[in-house]
Symmetry: C2
Subunit: 258 residues, 2 copies
DNA sequence: TATTATATAGTAATATTTACGGAATAAAGG
DNA sequence: CCTTTATTCCGTAAATATTACTATATAATA
């Protein structure tokens, strides 16, 4: 959605293409530099940030919509993407969605009764992505993007703070039942890397020996013969996920702590 | 919604009162006779059953809508009620919602473009209730209700089988993190009762001594001095939930198995 | 008072989780 | 080339949690 023509069609006729009163908000988690980050977009004219999101086409399955929106934004397909909550308790209209704002910020003349100003419930999805593979696409409404540390999120538009918090909570709970990492780490990674990923997600220290023992015992990762040769210190061995066991653990669930 | 006038207003003008394209489906779990049951309604004229559900008013918070719908149907308020998934991958229109059906089954003349025939995504909630306290209210569209064993559910309308299965899965997963029972059992209950409740929900046997040890160790229940005096056998002691610990476990979560 | 079905309780074996320190090693700098 | 530095990596013992298991008490009925 880049040409003005497309934008105007979206604003004026969007209600014909999309289901009204509903949107999808994606919390995209990436991991970099020992930090868990989420991707936020800066809205044109605002100094505020918001989650990437979009609408569901009238005949499009919900999960397809979520994947499409994510792919349009990050160019990544076939990702780990999971619905975690539908938000519908916030005020029935939000102050950021009024004609005046559209005029001032975006230079668009929009009527009071435009579909974009109606009450909108949002369906939260979260994704886990390999930070380094993402290439973000901006559009007419956004003029910047940035990866933010999860414990240093700026003010967000609408009630999206709640969305981010719930996503994080879900992720932290889920890590006790499902392996995580396949989509957050490069294909080959070191023990310290995955260890630190788990510490970061859970927000607490994990004994490094017990942690790797656990992953190895569960058969989720395997040691390779290669080492990574960077840094002035002892080179760590590389590891890889055991695809089969990982998939099974995803499906069947695991009961344990780390 | 009982008078014909009300029904006609709902059918013809519902789109003015309710958000379109969205509905709430409730999976109401009750426990009775060593069986976990769910409440189903029989649709007038159909031989098929469906979940109780309803729509969200245009200015009504989502969670309020869920509680309202549950209360209208069961006369119970302030229950444990939890959203578990939004379903939106089924076909964009369903065969059960067409003018012909409304004419034949309900004797209503409805136009092809009526709001009730549009694509509807449904938000699944599940509730845990004390079976014996429920008094079901039927309405114009339903002519019977019944509690069904969870492992003996009949054919359901639309894609509601999937909804029920997901609810059950969520409940079974959740029982490892949260205490359950407060809303499914009478205030005072026996060890065998709560033991059998957990076995029923999890669908597997639990050692009775270890189970009660666990609940007592966690401080979730306490023994009373009373006994229940029914049956021709040794009278079991009554137990009660420890409200404070129970609430905390609900909030903080517990990590353990049973 | 004997019978019957059910409720209740404790201990030992096993498995899991936690706690903890020291040797190996890769590069950089003197 | 030797020392320093920061990091990886390894194993075992103690504590804790889970599992497995059966005999006695007891309430009502016949």
């Amino acid at each position: 959605m880049n040409s003005l023509e497309e934008v105007l069609d979206f604003v004026n006729n969007g209600h014909k293409y999309y289901l009204p009163h509903m949107s999808i908000d994606s919390v995209i988690f990436g991991y970099h530099n020992q930090q868990l980050k989420i991707l936020l977009l800066k809205w044109k004219g605002y100094n505020e940030w918001g989650l990437p999101g979009g609408f569901i086409k009238r005949r499009e399955p919900l999960s397809k919509a979520a994947h499409r929106i994510l792919e349009e934004r990050t160019s990544l397909s076939n990702l780990f993407l999971q619905q975690f909550h539908m938000f519908g308790d916030s005020p029935y209209r939000v102050k950021e969605r009024i004609p005046q704002v559209f005029r001032e910020k975006f230079g668009l003349e929009v009527e009071e009764d435009n579909w974009l100003f109606e009450r909108t419930l949002s369906i939260g999805y979260f994704a886990l992505v390999d930070y380094s593979k993402v290439s973000v696409t901006l559009d007419f409404f956004t003029d910047d993007y940035q990866w933010w540390d999860v414990d240093d999120i700026p003010e967000l538009l609408f009630d999206q703070k709640e969305v981010v918090e719930k996503a994080l909570l879900t992720l932290r709970l889920q890590i006790y039942h499902q392996p995580i990492g396949y989509n957050l780490l490069p294909q080959k990674f070191t023990l310290p890397e995955i260890h630190s990923l788990y510490e970061t997600i859970l927000g607490k220290e994990l004994d490094q020996r017990n942690f790797s023992k656990k992953l190895l015992t569960l058969g989720l990762i395997k040691k390779l013969d290669e080492r990574r040769n960077i840094g002035p210190h002892r080179a760590p061995y590389l590891y890889q996920f055991e695809k089969e066991n990982y998939e099974e653990a995803l499906k069947e669930g695991i009961v344990h702590t780390y």
